[in-house]
Protein backbone atom coordinates (compact mmCIF):
# COMPACT_ATOMS: atom_id res chain seq x y z
CA UNK A 1 0.00 0.00 0.00
CA UNK A 2 1.14 3.53 -0.73
CA UNK A 3 0.28 6.24 1.79
CA UNK A 4 0.02 9.83 0.66
CA UNK A 5 -1.78 13.04 1.50
CA UNK A 6 -4.23 13.86 -1.25
CA UNK A 7 -5.85 17.29 -1.15
CA UNK A 8 -5.24 17.47 2.57
CA UNK A 9 -6.56 13.96 3.39
CA UNK A 10 -4.43 10.95 4.28
CA UNK A 11 -5.25 8.25 1.71
CA UNK A 12 -4.00 4.82 0.74
CA UNK A 13 -3.36 3.75 -2.82
CA UNK A 14 -2.76 0.23 -4.14
CA UNK A 15 0.87 -0.86 -4.07
CA UNK A 16 1.02 -1.99 -7.72
CA UNK A 17 4.29 -0.57 -9.05
CA UNK A 18 2.82 -0.03 -12.53
CA UNK A 19 0.05 2.28 -11.32
CA UNK A 20 0.43 5.77 -12.79
CA UNK A 21 -0.64 8.71 -10.63
CA UNK A 22 -2.74 10.33 -13.37
CA UNK A 23 -4.79 7.22 -14.09
CA UNK A 24 -5.30 6.48 -10.40
CA UNK A 25 -6.43 10.04 -9.60
CA UNK A 26 -8.89 10.07 -12.48
CA UNK A 27 -10.19 6.49 -12.44
CA UNK A 28 -10.14 5.60 -8.74
CA UNK A 29 -10.36 8.95 -6.99
CA UNK A 30 -12.77 10.64 -9.40
CA UNK A 31 -10.44 13.62 -9.71
CA UNK A 32 -10.94 14.31 -13.40
CA UNK A 33 -9.75 17.92 -13.38
CA UNK A 34 -6.34 16.80 -14.56
CA UNK A 35 -6.31 15.62 -18.18
CA UNK A 36 -4.26 12.91 -19.83
CA UNK A 37 -3.76 14.64 -23.15
CA UNK A 38 -0.38 14.24 -24.84
CA UNK A 39 0.48 11.55 -22.29
CA UNK A 40 4.19 12.15 -22.85
CA UNK A 41 5.15 14.95 -20.50
CA UNK A 42 4.88 17.81 -22.96
CA UNK A 43 1.49 19.54 -22.63
CA UNK A 44 1.05 20.07 -18.89
CA UNK A 45 -2.67 19.19 -18.79
CA UNK A 46 -1.88 16.47 -16.20
CA UNK A 47 -0.09 18.87 -13.83
CA UNK A 48 -0.56 18.20 -10.11
CA UNK A 49 1.41 19.61 -7.19
CA UNK A 50 3.64 17.22 -5.26
CA UNK A 51 5.00 18.89 -2.13
CA UNK A 52 4.20 22.23 -3.81
CA UNK A 53 6.13 21.34 -6.99
CA UNK A 54 4.30 20.98 -10.34
CA UNK A 55 4.71 17.40 -11.56
CA UNK A 56 3.33 15.52 -14.56
CA UNK A 57 0.88 12.88 -13.35
CA UNK A 58 0.99 11.09 -16.72
CA UNK A 59 4.61 10.06 -16.20
CA UNK A 60 4.79 9.53 -12.46
CA UNK A 61 4.09 6.29 -10.61
CA UNK A 62 1.99 6.39 -7.46
CA UNK A 63 4.82 4.83 -5.40
CA UNK A 64 7.02 7.77 -6.35
CA UNK A 65 4.81 10.11 -4.30
CA UNK A 66 4.71 7.91 -1.20
CA UNK A 67 4.45 10.03 1.95
CA UNK A 68 4.14 13.24 -0.06
CA UNK A 69 1.46 15.91 -0.40
CA UNK A 70 -0.42 15.73 -3.68
CA UNK A 71 -2.78 18.54 -4.69
CA UNK A 72 -5.15 18.59 -7.64
CA UNK A 73 -7.30 21.42 -8.98
CA UNK A 74 -10.25 20.05 -6.99
CA UNK A 75 -8.61 21.30 -3.79
CA UNK A 76 -9.02 24.91 -4.90
CA UNK A 77 -12.14 26.98 -4.28
CA UNK A 78 -15.71 25.93 -5.03
CA UNK A 79 -18.25 27.06 -7.63
CA UNK A 80 -19.68 29.61 -5.20
CA UNK A 81 -16.34 30.67 -3.74
CA UNK A 82 -13.66 30.66 -6.41
CA UNK A 83 -9.98 30.72 -5.52
CA UNK A 84 -8.45 34.11 -6.50
CA UNK A 85 -6.64 32.40 -9.41
CA UNK A 86 -9.89 30.88 -10.65
CA UNK A 87 -11.63 34.23 -10.27
CA UNK A 88 -8.85 35.99 -12.18
CA UNK A 89 -8.94 33.43 -15.03
CA UNK A 90 -12.70 34.01 -15.23
CA UNK A 91 -12.36 37.81 -15.16
CA UNK A 92 -9.60 37.94 -17.78
CA UNK A 93 -11.09 35.51 -20.28
CA UNK A 94 -8.09 33.30 -19.64
CA UNK A 95 -9.84 30.14 -20.77
CA UNK A 96 -11.98 28.93 -23.63
CA UNK A 97 -12.19 25.15 -23.81
CA UNK A 98 -10.71 24.87 -20.32
CA UNK A 99 -8.68 21.73 -21.02
CA UNK A 100 -5.34 23.27 -20.01
CA UNK A 101 -6.79 25.40 -17.20
CA UNK A 102 -6.33 23.03 -14.22
CA UNK A 103 -2.65 22.62 -15.10
CA UNK A 104 -2.18 26.34 -15.73
CA UNK A 105 -3.75 27.27 -12.40
CA UNK A 106 -1.71 24.73 -10.43
CA UNK A 107 1.54 25.79 -12.12
CA UNK A 108 0.64 29.41 -11.30
CA UNK A 109 -0.26 28.53 -7.71
CA UNK A 110 3.11 26.82 -7.23
CA UNK A 111 4.81 29.98 -8.44
CA UNK A 112 2.78 32.33 -6.24
CA UNK A 113 3.49 30.23 -3.15
CA UNK A 114 7.23 30.81 -3.48
CA UNK A 115 7.08 34.16 -5.27
CA UNK A 116 3.97 36.16 -4.33
CA UNK A 117 4.97 39.15 -6.50
CA UNK A 118 6.30 37.68 -9.75
CA UNK A 119 7.29 39.69 -12.79
CA UNK A 120 5.64 38.98 -16.13
CA UNK A 121 8.80 37.10 -17.19
CA UNK A 122 8.70 34.94 -14.08
CA UNK A 123 5.06 34.02 -14.77
CA UNK A 124 5.99 33.20 -18.35
CA UNK A 125 8.83 30.93 -17.20
CA UNK A 126 6.62 29.17 -14.65
CA UNK A 127 3.94 28.47 -17.27
CA UNK A 128 6.37 27.67 -20.08
CA UNK A 129 5.62 23.95 -19.84
CA UNK A 130 1.83 24.32 -20.03
CA UNK A 131 0.39 24.51 -23.52
CA UNK A 132 -2.84 26.31 -24.44
CA UNK A 133 -4.34 25.74 -27.86
CA UNK A 134 -7.17 28.27 -27.85
CA UNK A 135 -6.98 31.27 -25.54
CA UNK A 136 -3.39 32.16 -26.11
CA UNK A 137 -1.04 33.08 -23.34
CA UNK A 138 -1.51 36.81 -22.84
CA UNK A 139 -4.82 36.69 -20.94
CA UNK A 140 -3.51 33.77 -18.89
CA UNK A 141 -0.43 35.70 -17.80
CA UNK A 142 -2.57 38.80 -17.13
CA UNK A 143 -4.83 36.65 -14.93
CA UNK A 144 -1.93 35.25 -12.90
CA UNK A 145 -0.53 38.75 -12.31
CA UNK A 146 -3.99 39.99 -11.26
CA UNK A 147 -4.43 37.00 -8.93
CA UNK A 148 -1.06 37.76 -7.34
CA UNK A 149 -2.28 41.25 -6.51
CA UNK A 150 -5.62 39.99 -5.22
CA UNK A 151 -3.92 37.37 -3.07
CA UNK A 152 -1.51 39.92 -1.62
CA UNK A 153 -4.47 42.07 -0.56
CA UNK A 154 -6.58 39.25 0.88
CA UNK A 155 -4.87 35.87 1.13
CA UNK A 156 -7.22 32.97 0.20
Amino acid sequence: MTQLVLNGRAVTAPADPQLLLGLWLRDSQGLTGLKLACDQGVCGACTVLVNDQPMGACHLFVWQVEGQRVETIESLGSPTRLHPLQQAFHDHGALQCGFCTPGMILAALALLRVNPHPTREEVQAALSGNLCRCTGYRPIIDAVLAAAEAMAESPP
Binding site: P17, Q18, C58, F61, A107, G129
Partner: protein, 260 residues
Protein backbone atom coordinates in the same frame (compact mmCIF):
# COMPACT_ATOMS: atom_id res chain seq x y z
CA UNK B 1 -13.18 2.75 -32.31
CA UNK B 2 -10.39 1.92 -34.72
CA UNK B 3 -7.08 1.06 -33.08
CA UNK B 4 -5.38 4.14 -34.39
CA UNK B 5 -7.98 6.38 -32.76
CA UNK B 6 -7.55 5.13 -29.22
CA UNK B 7 -5.91 7.88 -27.21
CA UNK B 8 -2.39 7.19 -26.04
CA UNK B 9 -3.64 7.97 -22.57
CA UNK B 10 -5.53 4.68 -22.49
CA UNK B 11 -2.25 2.78 -22.67
CA UNK B 12 -1.94 0.64 -19.58
CA UNK B 13 1.39 -0.41 -18.22
CA UNK B 14 1.98 -4.09 -17.54
CA UNK B 15 2.88 -5.28 -14.04
CA UNK B 16 6.51 -5.40 -12.92
CA UNK B 17 8.31 -6.09 -9.68
CA UNK B 18 9.87 -3.14 -7.88
CA UNK B 19 12.93 -3.60 -5.67
CA UNK B 20 13.98 -0.86 -3.29
CA UNK B 21 17.61 -1.44 -2.39
CA UNK B 22 18.99 0.66 0.44
CA UNK B 23 22.68 -0.17 0.00
CA UNK B 24 24.97 -0.13 -3.00
CA UNK B 25 25.92 -3.79 -2.46
CA UNK B 26 22.26 -4.80 -2.57
CA UNK B 27 21.68 -2.71 -5.70
CA UNK B 28 24.67 -4.22 -7.51
CA UNK B 29 23.51 -7.76 -6.64
CA UNK B 30 20.14 -6.95 -8.20
CA UNK B 31 21.52 -5.31 -11.36
CA UNK B 32 21.68 -8.40 -13.59
CA UNK B 33 17.93 -8.99 -13.14
CA UNK B 34 16.56 -5.53 -12.22
CA UNK B 35 17.57 -2.43 -14.20
CA UNK B 36 17.65 0.90 -12.36
CA UNK B 37 14.79 3.37 -12.35
CA UNK B 38 15.57 6.89 -11.13
CA UNK B 39 13.06 9.58 -12.21
CA UNK B 40 11.33 7.07 -14.46
CA UNK B 41 10.64 9.56 -17.26
CA UNK B 42 12.25 7.28 -19.84
CA UNK B 43 10.88 4.08 -18.35
CA UNK B 44 7.26 5.28 -18.37
CA UNK B 45 7.59 6.12 -22.05
CA UNK B 46 9.10 2.70 -22.81
CA UNK B 47 6.41 0.90 -20.80
CA UNK B 48 3.56 2.79 -22.44
CA UNK B 49 4.82 1.33 -25.70
CA UNK B 50 4.66 -2.19 -24.25
CA UNK B 51 8.25 -2.57 -23.05
CA UNK B 52 7.61 -3.36 -19.39
CA UNK B 53 10.51 -5.31 -17.83
CA UNK B 54 9.97 -8.09 -15.28
CA UNK B 55 11.68 -6.10 -12.51
CA UNK B 56 13.19 -2.71 -11.78
CA UNK B 57 15.02 -1.22 -8.81
CA UNK B 58 14.43 2.26 -7.43
CA UNK B 59 17.92 3.68 -6.95
CA UNK B 60 16.94 7.10 -5.66
CA UNK B 61 17.28 6.08 -2.00
CA UNK B 62 20.85 4.80 -2.30
CA UNK B 63 23.33 6.74 -0.15
CA UNK B 64 24.85 9.81 -1.85
CA UNK B 65 22.97 9.28 -5.11
CA UNK B 66 20.69 12.30 -4.88
CA UNK B 67 23.17 14.75 -3.39
CA UNK B 68 25.43 17.48 -4.72
CA UNK B 69 28.72 17.92 -2.88
CA UNK B 70 31.83 20.04 -3.17
CA UNK B 71 35.02 17.95 -2.72
CA UNK B 72 37.98 20.29 -2.92
CA UNK B 73 38.01 21.79 -6.38
CA UNK B 74 35.65 19.11 -7.67
CA UNK B 75 31.89 19.02 -7.61
CA UNK B 76 30.30 15.61 -7.14
CA UNK B 77 26.83 15.40 -8.67
CA UNK B 78 25.00 12.23 -7.61
CA UNK B 79 23.41 10.27 -10.47
CA UNK B 80 19.90 10.62 -9.03
CA UNK B 81 20.16 14.41 -8.80
CA UNK B 82 17.34 15.98 -10.83
CA UNK B 83 17.68 18.68 -13.48
CA UNK B 84 15.85 20.97 -11.06
CA UNK B 85 18.37 20.35 -8.27
CA UNK B 86 21.19 21.18 -10.71
CA UNK B 87 19.38 24.35 -11.58
CA UNK B 88 18.66 25.65 -8.09
CA UNK B 89 21.78 24.59 -6.19
CA UNK B 90 24.04 27.65 -6.01
CA UNK B 91 27.21 25.54 -5.82
CA UNK B 92 26.60 24.26 -9.36
CA UNK B 93 26.34 27.76 -10.82
CA UNK B 94 29.30 28.78 -8.67
CA UNK B 95 31.47 26.03 -10.16
CA UNK B 96 30.18 26.32 -13.73
CA UNK B 97 29.22 29.89 -14.56
CA UNK B 98 26.39 30.15 -17.08
CA UNK B 99 25.00 26.68 -16.27
CA UNK B 100 21.75 28.02 -14.86
CA UNK B 101 21.12 30.14 -17.93
CA UNK B 102 21.40 27.01 -20.10
CA UNK B 103 19.61 24.50 -17.90
CA UNK B 104 16.41 26.49 -17.34
CA UNK B 105 15.63 25.74 -21.01
CA UNK B 106 15.80 21.95 -20.62
CA UNK B 107 12.49 20.13 -21.10
CA UNK B 108 9.88 21.82 -18.92
CA UNK B 109 9.53 22.40 -15.17
CA UNK B 110 7.90 19.01 -14.58
CA UNK B 111 10.51 17.04 -16.51
CA UNK B 112 13.24 18.97 -14.74
CA UNK B 113 11.75 18.08 -11.35
CA UNK B 114 11.61 14.35 -12.18
CA UNK B 115 14.35 13.51 -14.68
CA UNK B 116 17.81 12.77 -13.29
CA UNK B 117 21.26 13.26 -14.67
CA UNK B 118 22.08 9.53 -14.50
CA UNK B 119 18.89 8.71 -16.41
CA UNK B 120 19.65 11.37 -18.99
CA UNK B 121 23.12 9.93 -19.59
CA UNK B 122 22.12 6.25 -19.48
CA UNK B 123 19.26 6.88 -21.91
CA UNK B 124 22.06 7.60 -24.43
CA UNK B 125 19.76 9.63 -26.61
CA UNK B 126 21.90 11.67 -29.03
CA UNK B 127 19.54 14.66 -28.85
CA UNK B 128 19.92 15.06 -25.09
CA UNK B 129 21.89 17.98 -23.75
CA UNK B 130 23.85 16.73 -20.76
CA UNK B 131 26.54 14.67 -22.48
CA UNK B 132 27.87 17.49 -24.70
CA UNK B 133 28.03 19.82 -21.69
CA UNK B 134 29.90 17.23 -19.62
CA UNK B 135 32.28 16.50 -22.51
CA UNK B 136 33.10 20.18 -22.83
CA UNK B 137 33.56 20.29 -19.04
CA UNK B 138 35.94 17.30 -19.22
CA UNK B 139 33.88 15.68 -16.49
CA UNK B 140 34.45 12.29 -14.87
CA UNK B 141 32.02 9.48 -14.39
CA UNK B 142 31.90 7.47 -11.17
CA UNK B 143 30.57 3.97 -11.89
CA UNK B 144 30.21 0.86 -9.76
CA UNK B 145 29.87 -2.78 -10.67
CA UNK B 146 30.49 -6.09 -8.92
CA UNK B 147 34.26 -5.55 -9.18
CA UNK B 148 34.20 -2.16 -7.44
CA UNK B 149 33.91 1.57 -8.04
CA UNK B 150 35.96 3.45 -10.63
CA UNK B 151 36.27 6.88 -12.19
CA UNK B 152 36.21 7.08 -15.98
CA UNK B 153 36.52 10.04 -18.30
CA UNK B 154 33.04 11.04 -19.48
CA UNK B 155 33.96 10.02 -23.06
CA UNK B 156 33.94 6.42 -21.80
CA UNK B 157 30.21 6.59 -20.91
CA UNK B 158 29.24 4.11 -23.64
CA UNK B 159 32.11 1.78 -22.69
CA UNK B 160 31.21 1.54 -18.98
CA UNK B 161 31.00 -2.04 -17.68
CA UNK B 162 27.86 -4.06 -18.34
CA UNK B 163 25.65 -4.26 -15.25
CA UNK B 164 27.13 -1.14 -13.76
CA UNK B 165 25.49 1.73 -11.96
CA UNK B 166 26.38 5.34 -12.63
CA UNK B 167 26.99 6.75 -9.15
CA UNK B 168 27.97 10.32 -9.92
CA UNK B 169 29.47 12.81 -12.28
CA UNK B 170 32.49 14.83 -11.18
CA UNK B 171 33.11 18.30 -12.54
CA UNK B 172 36.09 20.51 -11.76
CA UNK B 173 35.06 23.99 -10.61
CA UNK B 174 36.24 27.18 -12.29
CA UNK B 175 34.51 26.84 -15.66
CA UNK B 176 32.35 29.11 -17.77
CA UNK B 177 29.72 27.51 -20.04
CA UNK B 178 27.86 28.65 -23.13
CA UNK B 179 25.49 26.36 -25.00
CA UNK B 180 24.02 27.66 -28.23
CA UNK B 181 20.79 25.70 -28.74
CA UNK B 182 19.21 28.29 -31.04
CA UNK B 183 19.37 26.06 -34.13
CA UNK B 184 18.02 22.98 -32.34
CA UNK B 185 17.58 20.27 -33.62
CA UNK B 186 19.89 20.92 -36.58
CA UNK B 187 23.10 21.79 -34.81
CA UNK B 188 24.25 23.12 -31.44
CA UNK B 189 27.47 23.83 -29.62
CA UNK B 190 28.42 23.49 -25.95
CA UNK B 191 31.63 25.33 -25.11
CA UNK B 192 33.51 25.65 -21.83
CA UNK B 193 36.27 28.03 -20.92
CA UNK B 194 38.81 27.30 -18.18
CA UNK B 195 41.42 29.99 -17.74
CA UNK B 196 42.49 30.67 -21.31
CA UNK B 197 41.56 27.34 -22.90
CA UNK B 198 38.24 26.41 -24.46
CA UNK B 199 36.75 22.94 -25.09
CA UNK B 200 33.72 22.63 -27.30
CA UNK B 201 31.35 19.84 -28.34
CA UNK B 202 28.95 19.89 -31.25
CA UNK B 203 25.53 18.24 -30.97
CA UNK B 204 22.75 16.95 -33.23
CA UNK B 205 25.03 17.20 -36.26
CA UNK B 206 27.53 14.39 -35.84
CA UNK B 207 27.23 10.62 -35.47
CA UNK B 208 29.14 10.87 -32.22
CA UNK B 209 29.31 13.61 -29.60
CA UNK B 210 32.91 14.55 -28.90
CA UNK B 211 34.69 17.62 -27.54
CA UNK B 212 37.84 19.20 -28.93
CA UNK B 213 39.95 22.25 -28.04
CA UNK B 214 38.54 25.36 -29.67
CA UNK B 215 41.33 27.77 -30.48
CA UNK B 216 40.61 28.28 -34.12
CA UNK B 217 37.05 27.50 -35.32
CA UNK B 218 38.25 26.05 -38.64
CA UNK B 219 40.83 23.77 -36.96
CA UNK B 220 38.22 22.72 -34.44
CA UNK B 221 35.83 21.66 -37.22
CA UNK B 222 38.62 19.62 -38.83
CA UNK B 223 38.89 17.55 -35.65
CA UNK B 224 35.24 16.52 -35.76
CA UNK B 225 34.02 13.32 -37.42
CA UNK B 226 31.58 13.37 -40.33
CA UNK B 227 28.56 15.63 -40.62
CA UNK B 228 25.16 13.97 -40.55
CA UNK B 229 22.72 14.36 -43.44
CA UNK B 230 19.15 13.89 -42.16
CA UNK B 231 15.61 15.26 -42.19
CA UNK B 232 16.65 18.19 -39.95
CA UNK B 233 19.44 19.47 -42.15
CA UNK B 234 22.06 18.64 -44.73
CA UNK B 235 25.70 17.86 -44.05
CA UNK B 236 26.71 20.84 -46.22
CA UNK B 237 24.61 23.22 -44.14
CA UNK B 238 25.93 21.82 -40.87
CA UNK B 239 29.54 22.02 -42.05
CA UNK B 240 28.99 25.64 -43.06
CA UNK B 241 27.27 26.69 -39.84
CA UNK B 242 29.56 24.91 -37.36
CA UNK B 243 32.52 27.33 -37.61
CA UNK B 244 30.12 30.27 -37.31
CA UNK B 245 28.60 28.89 -34.10
CA UNK B 246 32.08 28.06 -32.84
CA UNK B 247 33.35 31.58 -33.46
CA UNK B 248 30.34 33.06 -31.68
CA UNK B 249 30.68 30.76 -28.68
CA UNK B 250 34.38 31.60 -28.47
CA UNK B 251 33.70 35.30 -28.62
CA UNK B 252 31.09 35.04 -25.85
CA UNK B 253 33.44 33.06 -23.63
CA UNK B 254 36.28 35.51 -24.12
CA UNK B 255 34.21 38.51 -23.05
CA UNK B 256 35.17 39.86 -19.63
CA UNK B 257 33.49 37.82 -16.84
CA UNK B 258 29.94 38.99 -16.21
CA UNK B 259 29.45 40.45 -19.67
CA UNK B 260 28.51 37.07 -21.26
Amino acid sequence: MADGLIARSRHRIGPFHLHRPSSLAEALDLLPTAAPIAGGVEWVEVMKRGGTPAALQDITKLPDLATIRQEGEWLRLGAAVTHRQLLIDPIVEGAVGGFRHVWREIGNPRIRAQGTLGGNLAASNPVYDLLPVLLALEAQLEVADASGTQCLPIQALAQRPRHSLILAVRVRAGAQLVFDRSLRPVIGIAAVRRESSIQAAIVWAQAEVRAAPLDDPADWCDQLPHWVDDAHGTAIYRAAVAPVLAARARARLLLPVGAA
